[in-house]
């Protein structure tokens, strides 16, 4: 069953055709990767899917309904969480608090109820914190719970951002270059973490440059070049695709 379906999406920025007629599906439970050289339109595609940009043409169907034209928070409420290429942690908040914000969609107390600290909001807050510490355990960051998130080492910041997205309990998780700026050890750690996410019944769509990571963890790969999809196949088949080797893999390996 396909969870996310991108159909004929195009986007132009002035004279630049960022995306042209891109279509692909993400099946339920899969880990799918988007690869392509810099400027291929990967992040633009992410921003279109998650509602931060509007395409000129096309459609994005998520969980059976069209989400194009919805605000990002509305798409998030339908079960899509994302991370950002430039880490966007909440400043002046601890690691735990950052993750607690991810529970927003799974709690309901309003301004007035929270101001009055009603019994139901107290109960809700306990639940939020339980899930929060469970996620910190999952990330192996329990020791840093009370540290200010933006003061952590870069690799751990990436993990907090991932944990914050996981706290949303999304049906699909969009990861924009989760290994960018990480060293080899941290990248391996991130790869293990992403593989374990599948065990939490989360579908993953990721943009990534680190080919070893992509080959390790993804089921399917979509290759973009200059805004067009040039290939889509199983990971091992992509490695042998002559077109892909020419425009992308060849660049570094030639």
């Amino acid at each position: 069953m396909k969870l996310l379906s991108v159909r004929g999406v195009s986007k132009r920025f002035g004279g630049l055709q960022a995306l042209e007629d891109v279509s692909f599906d993400v099946p339920q439970g899969a880990i799918k990767a988007l690869i392509g050289p810099n400027g291929a339109g990967k992040t633009t595609l992410f921003n279109l899917i998650s509602g931060f940009l509007r395409p000129d043409q096309g459609s994005v169907v998520f969980g059976g309904t069209e989400v194009l034209g919805l605000a990002p928070h509305q798409i998030a409420a339908r079960g899509m969480a994302r991370t950002f290429q430039q880490i966007r942690l909440f400043p002046r908040m601890t690691v735990l608090e950052n993750i607690l914000v991810g529970r927003h969609l799974h709690s309901r107390g309003g301004f007035l109820a929270c101001m009055l600290n009603l019994p139901f909001t107290r109960k809700e807050e306990r639940g939020i914190r339980e899930t929060g510490s469970e996620i910190l355990d999952f990330l192996g960051l329990s020791g840093q719970a009370d540290a200010e998130a933006v003061h952590l080492p870069y690799g751990q910041q990436r993990m907090v951002e991932l944990g914050r997205a996981l706290a949303c309990e999304p049906r699909i998780l969009l990861l924009d270059e989760p290994a960018a700026g990480l060293n080899i050890r941290e990248t391996a750690e991130m790869g293990r973490l992403i593989s374990r996410i599948r065990g939490r019944n989360v579908t993953v769509l990721l943009v990534e440059h680190d080919m070893s990571l992509v080959m390790d963890i993804s089921d399917d790969i979509v290759v973009l070049s200059y805004g067009q999809k040039i290939a889509e196949d199983k990971a091992h088949a992509i490695q042998k695709d002559p077109e892909v080797i020419r425009v992308y893999l060849g660049e570094g390996d030639a």
Partner: protein, 355 residues
């Protein structure tokens, strides 16, 4: 949970200690300025939520204070007895209008203060929604300029409208009997109960806001401050949250305006002036931005000093200077949450701090 309310108890202790001190030194007249400080503090802590936590600047909050104050002043002083028909008699019976005797022994028929207060606060919130809707789409300097524009408009309206007393403002506003035997008024005999009433309200406001910032709604507001796109990605409708925070802070400002107007027995256009708005933002800034306690303590101190005339003719200049110095040297505010930690670090001799 305990930790949240412990400072509240300590602050209540401070308020009692101050009253005791004035009692035993025979300087009870200080309580008048301290009571006025309390009402300004009510505005300041509401503004702290908006500016410090949600990260949305407003240079127009004196406008909301004035809207609350002027509405209650108008409603409770405008005599309706000349138009006494069946409707007003019915309204009087329902307690919405009330008769009272003015200074010269004439009988006045005006809106009851409780009703006026309710109307004033609701109107302030309504105006905040109407203004905030379009204005909060702006960010940073643009938001500052737009709210400043709102403040200027309100100031010119109250200054230029005969109906609102123009430059004189509205006087002879009656006391506001909140409970039987407890009225908001500046009578010397009621100085002590009014002092406790005002600070009691501030403490109640603090409890509400402290609860809010430690809840999911408070975290949602803080998340907007600094990473609005990430907040959206977490499913937080940022536009709605900004508007709610704006309206809530306006409600605090409006209520403060209502109560101080009854306490002073009147209100003038200076309460709506832009320099007042700058003063409130300066207090939040020196209080540490996202720091309700810092804002409250600074508001108590600076408003008291200002009202006692310690700043002389440089009153407004002092607050302008505070704002400039804070922005130059401590844009995160002076009383920051991590200030103690940094001081401790210095004494421990490990100055390096990842940032």
């Amino acid at each position: 949970m305990r930790g949240r309310y412990l400072p509240v108890a300590a602050f209540a202790g401070l308020i009692v200690a101050i009253q005791m001190a004035t009692h035993f030194t025979g300087s009870g007249y200080h309580l008048t300025q301290l009571t006025m400080s309390a009402y300004y503090s009510l505005l300041a802590i509401g503004l702290c939520l908006l500016v410090g936590y949600a990260g949305q600047i407003s240079l127009g909050h004196a406008g909301f204070f004035a809207i609350g104050g002027y509405i209650t002043a108008l409603l409770t002083t405008h005599d309706l007895s000349s138009r006494a028909g069946g409707a007003s008699r019915w309204l009087a019976k329902a307690g919405i209008l009330s008769f009272r005797i003015d200074l010269y022994g004439g009988e006045l028929l005006t809106v009851h203060p409780w009703v006026a207060c309710l109307v004033a606060v609701l109107a302030t919130v309504g105006i905040a929604y109407a203004v905030g809707g379009p204005v909060l789409k702006l960010k940073g300097h643009y938001l500052a300029m737009a709210t400043l524009g709102f403040g200027v408009i309100i100031y010119r309206i109250v200054l230029g409208t005969e109906f609102l007393g123009a430059a004189d403002g509205i006087s002879e506003v009656p006391p506001f009997a909140i409970l039987p035997g407890l009225e908001v008024s500046g009578k010397a005999a009621l100085r002590v109960p009014n002092y406790y009433l005002a600070w009691g309200l501030v403490i109640a406001g603090m409890v509400l806001l402290l609860n809010l910032i430690h809840s999911r709604e408070g975290r949602a507001l803080s998340s907007i401050h600094g990473a609005e796109d990430a907040a959206e990605a977490m499913g937080i409708p940022t536009a709605r949250y900004k508007l709610s925070a704006f309206a809530l802070s306006a409600a605090f400002a409006g209520l403060a305006g209502v109560l101080l107007t009854h306490y002073n027995g009147g209100i003038g256009p200076s309460e709506a002036s832009v320099m007042k708005s700058v003063r409130y933002v300066a207090i939040v800034a020196i209080g540490g931005m996202a720091n309700l306690w810092g804002t409250l303590l600074m508001s108590l101190l600076l408003n008291y000093l200002s009202l006692r005339g310690y700043f002389g003719t440089y009153d407004d200049a002092v607050f302008g200077a505070i704002l400039i110095l804070i922005m130059l040297f401590a844009p995160g505010g002076l009383l920051r949450r991590d200030l103690l930690e940094e001081v401790r670090d210095v004494f421990r001799g490990n100055g390096e701090k990842a940032s």
